[in-house]
Amino acid sequence: MPTTLVFVNENDYYLHSFTPPIPMTSSTVRRWAWIHKWSSLVCTLFMLLLCITGLPLIYHHDIVHLLGNDAAAPRMAPGTPRAGVDEVIAAGRAMYPDKIMMYMSQEVDEPDIWNLTLGDNPTDPNYKPIAVDARSARVLAEPAFEGGAFMSLMFHLHVDLYAGVPGKLFLGLMGLLLLVAIVSGVVLYAPFMRKLDFGTVRRDRTRRLKWLDLHNLLGIVTLVWALVVGATGMINTWAELLLNVWQTTEVAEMLRPYQGMAPAPATASVQLAVARAEAAEPGMKVAFVAFPGTPFSSTHHYGVFMRGDTALTARLYKPVLVDAQSGQVTDRRSLPWYLVALLMSQPLHFGDYGGAPMQFLWALFDVATMIMLGSGLYLWARRARAAKAAAQAGASLEAA
């Protein structure tokens, strides 16, 4: 945004300090400045919203815990045997006999809790979350929906603007504009900083110049972080689309033997399905089970998603498809590259994979990005005002 200032006489900065680098003519700079101005202008307010709502989301777990909206497993003697998965499901279903199972999952660091979601149908957006003790099969809590009212608000403003998949895709488009703004900003960094030492902030001249320097400084130090978080955020907005591709290609292929068969009730024991999946993938643990009809499974299968135990493999699920009637493993395959990309995009966007220091750095980068966005907006507004004043001065001069 500030780069449009380059071409006004309001300030002599540009004329005095800018020597066009050999390969970059002033019309090239002008073109990049135009790209930077418009890509930023369109996305800045949304990006500010994403930065503001993203800040509490970095600390999602901690905030939900502080608000008392999560479930905690009581302490039991180490080695307490685990309850059967079927028992756990029965405990959850007893709460809502009319609803069906959608998913059950376990977090890496909380093996004592099974998180169940039940709904009226396999894709019910108003699902009921239930936390069940993995050892006693007792219902621990019905955790607040989406972590409670506040976190739910932050989540939706950050993810889909309460507009479902179209809302997500819209924010993804804004993310793409951010990437364009970042790249054009880097190109423009050269003509602005050519004569200056890295990190120069000229505080002793005009206020605009000070903020221009701060904008350039914060932009360049957050560059790679913003590129990564912006790009992975954009990829995350495509989650539904990518799952759809998977459904219509690989899952459809796995379902070919079932062609012409009506969806049958899932009668096989989930416990058995989990045990067989574990036997099929030694060394891996169950991350979640997707029940028949959900986007992660098929109408005839339990999708048992296994994970490894390192930071990387814990995120690269391996699905084992178990026939929901016979309980036999019918297919297992690695996820296609685009789902691997999606799964890898999540930690890189959330910053939740390096412990508390990384969370804190994520928050600092986030704040720096907000200042960068705000200063860009300020510089653009100053420029617009200056241009208007110049036009008015010109007009009154003509009138006189």
Binding site: F198, G199, V201, R203, L218, I220, V224, W225, G354, P357
Partner: protein
């Protein structure tokens, strides 16, 4: 190099920090956080110094 040296260095450190924590465990996480902290610290130092208004 005067122009791009520092940006390239900070960019590489950021990338190494982001990737390192993803593939590494335990001690690598701390090292990755350290790498990520450099651009934040450099940015903060240049942005906040001479806030009192002293000129150079």
């Amino acid at each position: 190099m005067k122009l791009w040296g520092m940006p390239i260095l900070l960019g590489l450190l950021t990338a190494a920090g982001l990737a390192g924590a993803l593939v590494g465990e335990g001690g690598w996480d701390d090292l990755a956080a350290l790498a990520l902290a450099v651009p934040v610290a450099v940015g903060a130092w240049h942005a906040l110094r001479r806030l009192s208004g002293t000129k150079d």
